[in-house]
Subunit: 360 residues, 2 copies
């Protein structure tokens, strides 16, 4: 098996040890004679898994009993609609900070559902290259909630601090940096994340919701679109994506063994510093996000021209470094260095970048 490092933006690399374990027990889970993917979601074997997954998340993120932890489907994109459906308040605006595509899309869904939007910050003016002035943002206290996106995968920006919202619940899309850094969950009303970047495979969506917000859920919503349905049934109202939850459990086991999110964050900081330091000093590559806002997960950079960028992506792939093409909306190059991408992968990438710059 050739050594490959996977810089995909999502679905993305999963921890190598987890992949090997899942493979080893794929057709015979713990000697039961069949795979966990074939097990009933009502069976004790799966019950142990979903409970362990939740317990691991609570331990890792410090999630108190004031919050419910839900394992849903449909991705962050379905949450863009479910959130206003469930926790908007009649007669109150919803606040948004627009830091790129994902917050724009969330805003669009709130509008479709008839909500009035209060745009507190619009990064369009600076081409979404930074998230600035957060400490000065004033959040009107009559908003139903404030929606932000913690990390923008396309522009490679990340909130380095979170806005103070007072009484207004802070709703945060953490799809692309959840469990990559320490976060005080108690500061949020609702956290959600598609799993396929840092915590699992595609097809699983994590929602962490403060229980008092459940009182807002209006009558008349379809059963599957009500958070209360999934809270009451512990995510087992209907068949959940069992294999993805099993993978999340293994990944959270792996994180705990590694030393938890504190240890993970140190590794992530080191990986990002290595790559950014090289880019900054290279005189060849150019980072696209402002230094103060740049993401530790998605490192976006340009080469001297588009021709060279194409060649870079192609030659990198041949060298076993895959997924380095930037998002089609912005072009350029992007290295997504989520939790599962090892330090060694980033070192190999920097070596390759040095060689490529020297040759071209």
């Amino acid at each position: 098996m050739k050594e490959v490092f996977n810089f995909n933006a999502g679905p993305a690399a999963l921890p190598a040890a987890v992949m090997r374990q899942a493979q080893a027990e794929f057709v015979d889970y713990k000697g039961c004679g069949y795979g966990i993917i074939e097990e009933s979601h009502r069976a004790p074997q799966f019950d142990e898994i979903i409970q362990a997954a939740e317990a691991n998340l609570r331990t890792l993120m410090g999630i108190s009993e004031e919050y419910d932890v839900l394992f849903l489907q449909g991705g962050a994109s379905l949450q863009f609609a479910m959130i206003p459906m469930n926790i908007a308040l009649p007669g109150h605006k919803i606040g948004f900070c627009n830091t790129g595509e994902w917050s724009s899309k969330a805003m669009k869904e709130a509008s479709i559902l008839g909500a009035e939007i209060e745009l507190l910050y619009d990064g369009a003016a600076n081409g979404f290259s930074r998230i600035e002035g957060i400490e000065a943002w004033e959040v009107p206290q009559n908003l139903a909630y404030l929606h932000i996106c913690a990390n923008n995968t396309i522009y490679g920006t990340q909130y380095k601090q979170f806005p103070k919202t007072g009484q207004v619940p802070l709703v945060c899309d953490m799809s692309s940096d959840i469990m990559s850094r320490q976060v005080d969950v108690n500061k949020f009303g609702l956290i959600f994340a598609g799993a396929q970047k840092n915590i699992g495979p595609a097809g699983l969506t994590l929602v962490i919701i403060r229980k008092d917000l459940l009182q807002r859920v209006p009558e008349g919503l379809p059963t599957m679109l009500r958070y209360t349905t999934h809270c009451k049934s512990k995510s087992l109202f209907n068949t959940p994506p069992t294999f993805a939850i099993y993978m999340l459990r293994l990944i959270s086991d792996w994180l705990i063994e590694l030393g938890g999110i504190e240890a993970m964050q140190k590794i992530n900081d080191k990986k990002a510093a290595l790559l950014y330091d090289y880019v900054d000093g290279s005189g060849y590559y150019r980072g696209t996000a402002d230094k103060a806002s740049r993401s530790n997960m998605n490192v976006c950079f340009r080469l001297p021209n588009e021709e060279l960028e194409k060649q870079f992506v192609k030659e990198a792939k041949e060298a076993g470094l895959i997924g380095l093409k930037g998002h089609r909306a912005v072009g350029g190059c992007r290295a997504s260095i989520y939790n599962a991408v090892p330090q060694k992968g980033v070192e190999r990438l920097v070596e390759f970048m040095q060689q490529f710059a020297a040759k071209n």
Copy 2:
């Protein structure tokens, strides 16, 4: 590895050959150096998979270009809401035939969304033990559509013919018998199925929709809940459940190799006949569904008393025959013999049933 036969009602057994192939390439898909579960949904590797999955389904089921084939999330339960959201018609009732829990749940969601229901058939009167008089059902031609559930997993009943609906689109929940028997897709307006019984793992929902029905999709629906969104983007509006789609592709390859649905149906008929014939003649076990309506997928039966049923399920498990407990709503025993359960498994079950009856 011990030999186990899995009679789970879903998630359920997957074909042994598919499980072995998925295991073999789990960490290294076709020599690329990483797993398909880690691949981007925009990468050529995955594009080949989703296209092959759709092509296989079109071949196996004879789906014409008049229909779109969608790979969604949320299970049949989300479809219970999405269908009326998308294809109800203002001022027209929606027709339902209630053959048990799944059609009841679908009816409830249509009501929540404000639709008026026309109940064409109510199996509650006979305890859902049969689906009778189908050929005599008269379908009012002003219904928006008629919703039926092809196979009821809980009561072990199955439509042996489908109602004639004239101009009214027939909407069918085929979650538990899709691709287990030949069906003329052209008779349906919309077919949907959670994958986790016959065609894949949990977390994937198949929707086959006749294109003319897309004209009904109203303005104002959230983007993720509009069929048109997923038709336009070929199920890639957001990240789909990539690994589940990969498994569906392998399973559909396996079905084609086996000789297609015609061959599969013969095997399924044989498996069901073996089990029902034994139950009928045993003088010990008692089938719960009426013969004319009984399911080739879920064989429900009782023992002389509940004590013996408990003992049966326990001893069967020890003998490597798992998942035989009936649904909690009805009790008793149930053997789900979906496509992936081999003839040998049913033979083994019958042997065990003979031994158990002789001893008890």
